[in-house]
């Protein structure tokens, strides 16, 4: 019997994503990959995959999938309602599922994106070195498009490797923050000190114009000191462009590669996952950090992710000797959610 996941309902926007496709930005092709690469790596670690393994990125409303394999091990990273054959199931832990069972990912409770990883990975051919779906280029995933009802995702492993289930400790579960830290530049000299101070004092609302390419914000207009046309230059993930309207746009994984508006600041790598999780309607603030601090935070996040498999393994013994801890995990997470909104 082959092993697959069958798409019963695709949700709002579900795509196959890994950590992105690099080396083609000089040809206008942005990396794409998971908008929240941090959550993708957590999902992969929970099922014992390599961090860059392809998984399913779900947006606001998750997908419903049928298990068409003797068994499979799955984990979902993201604050979404989850059920397996109608029984509530926890995010941030792995689950052993069996043939014919239905995994239903519901709505995002807090946040915007979630990642479903399968032990062993998805059996999809890489295009230009990656399985990441790039919607505009029609690359990666399934024919470069979002999933549809009836799609069948073949799995690499017919049966999951034996082993215990893993769960992220409550303290390790990412909490949403409405504060994005940035490094100023590259074109902060297009704005005067007052405009920059106003930007950091302001609260911006994520508009409905938010997708894998970027998110347009509504709020106080940032005035340009010397026009708003720059000679197009390269954009990075996290670039904050300020077009003529004065309302900033944060560029995300499937962004354009170049842009002709001044880029006031850049969301730091360690906070890109927070940008990825801000749903339309969320109120965001920005705070400046210096380059050294941004680099320190980047290194800390990379080290945290790198140490995850080890921590998950060493947590096993303690967790399985203390079944109450699983219950506590949900409780703690519920309290933290409420406290995270400013």
């Amino acid at each position: 019997m082959s092993a697959a996941l069958e798409v019963i309902a695709p949700g709002l926007m579900t795509t196959v994503q890994d950590l992105g496709r690099f080396g083609y930005q000089r040809f206008g092709l942005s990396p794409a990959g998971a908008v929240d690469g941090f959550a993708l790596q957590i999902a992969n670690a929970l099922v014992g995959n390599a961090p860059s393994e392809a998984a399913l990125e779900m947006t606001l409303q998750g997908a419903t999938l049928m298990i068409a394999a003797p068994a499979a091990r799955l984990a979902f990273a993201g604050d979404f309602a989850l059920s397996i054959d109608g029984r509530p199931a926890a995010s941030y832990r792995s689950h052993l599922v069996h043939c014919g069972e239905i995994l239903a990912v519901g709505r995002a409770k807090n946040g915007l994106r979630g990642y479903l990883a399968v032990a062993g990975g998805l059996a999809l051919a890489a295009e230009l070195g990656s399985r990441a779906t790039h919607l505009r280029a029609g690359l990666g995933g399934i024919d470069g498009r979002e999933l549809r009802t009836g799609d069948r995702l073949e799995l690499c492993a017919a049966t999951p490797p034996a082993g215990l289930e893993h769960a992220l400790s409550a303290a390790d579960i990412p909490q949403r923050r409405n504060l994005l830290r940035v490094v100023l530049g590259p074109q902060d000299d297009y704005f005067n000190a007052v405009a920059i101070a106003d930007f950091f004092a302001a609260r911006y609302t994520v508009t409905a114009a938010a997708d894998r390419m970027g998110m347009r914000l509504a709020g106080p207009r940032i005035r340009h000191a010397r026009g708003f046309d720059v000679i197009s230059d390269a954009v990075v993930t996290g670039s904050i462009q300020v077009p003529g309207s004065g309302e900033p746009i944060v560029m995300l994984a499937e962004r354009q590669t170049t842009g002709g508006y001044p880029k006031l600041a850049t969301v730091i790598g360690a906070d890109l996952h927070q940008a990825a999780q801000a749903p339309p309607g969320a109120t965001l603030r920005f705070a400046p950090v210096d380059l050294a601090e941004a680099q320190r935070l980047r290194a800390a996040q990379l080290a945290w992710v790198a140490g995850l498999p080890q921590r998950l393994a060493s947590a096993d013994a303690a967790r399985w000797s203390d079944p109450d801890r699983l219950l506590g995990l949900n409780l703690i997470s519920g309290v933290a959610d409420a406290a995270s909104d400013p």
């Binding site: 590259p186 390269a234 941004a294």
Partner: protein, 242 residues
């Protein structure tokens, strides 16, 4: 219009540096960006990742855990001004059908420039173009070298969808589009060439620094070449180096 005496180094976050080397869109600056990129590649600096050349700057992605920003700037300064010669550029002849359904703005463009449509086409065909940048979207090819007489600010209302292969003018630039996309540029014609086709090897045809000449074709030839392009042929013809 000038190359700076020394580059400006601008942070694009904590892991990318914009090396800005000039203040305008010009062949000399574009060539200097290419030379800097080439010199940086040859220097093989540990921690330097993907580089992205644009009109007047080079984006250098780097791993700050391997090379610190100041150290990278020191290395980049040492490469300035870049010396050494670039490999001879590739030169492509790109077939284009102008006007009518292939370039629906040609007549209006000519009217606004107080020229005959044929004169617009002739001037566009006479140009020697250089790829200044491939960017924005996959394969979108920005060309420098447009006859200043053909410069025209972009349309007031951008089109929500323009066809792949559009040959257009926006300001002082002309471009070859690669995939259907919104655009505010004036559509003069259309090429059957696919600047990006994932099934073809290589998937991207044009690179920064390539030279481009346009060749006029009729509707029948366009359709014939479009079929060849769909079958994976480049259709753009390389000019052998002289």
């Amino acid at each position: 219009m000038a190359v700076y005496g020394a580059p400006r180094f601008l942070n694009a976050g904590e892991a990318a540096l914009v090396v800005e080397i000039g203040d305008s869109i010009a062949a000399e600056i574009s060539e200097r960006v290419a030379m800097l990129e080439s010199a940086l590649g040859a220097a093989a600096i540990a921690g330097v990742g993907e580089t992205v050349p644009t009109y007047r700057s080079l984006l250098v992605n780097y791993d700050p855990a391997v090379i610190d920003t100041e150290g990278l700037i020191v290395r980049l300064r040492a490469l300035w001004p870049p010396t050494g010669s670039l490999a001879a550029p590739r030169h492509w002849i790109v077939p284009v059908a102008y006007g009518g359904s292939f370039g629906e703005d040609l007549d209006e463009f000519a009217r606004r420039k107080a020229m005959m449509p044929e004169a617009v086409v002739e001037r566009h065909l006479a140009g020697h173009y250089r790829v200044y940048m491939v960017g924005f979207m996959p394969g979108f090819t920005y060309l420098g070298g447009l006859d200043p007489e053909l410069a025209l600010t972009r349309r007031d209302v951008p089109r929500t969808l323009t066809p792949a292969g559009s040959i257009s003018i926006g300001g002082i630039q002309t471009a070859i589009s690669s995939i259907a996309a919104p655009s505010g540029w004036h559509l003069l014609g259309r090429t059957p060439v696919r600047a990006f086709d994932k099934r073809r090897d290589p998937p991207f045809l044009f690179n920064t620094g390539d030279l481009i000449s346009f060749e006029r074709i009729d509707a029948a030839t366009w359709r014939e070449l479009a079929e060849a392009a769909a079958a994976g042929e480049p259709v753009a013809r390389p000019v052998p180096p002289s």
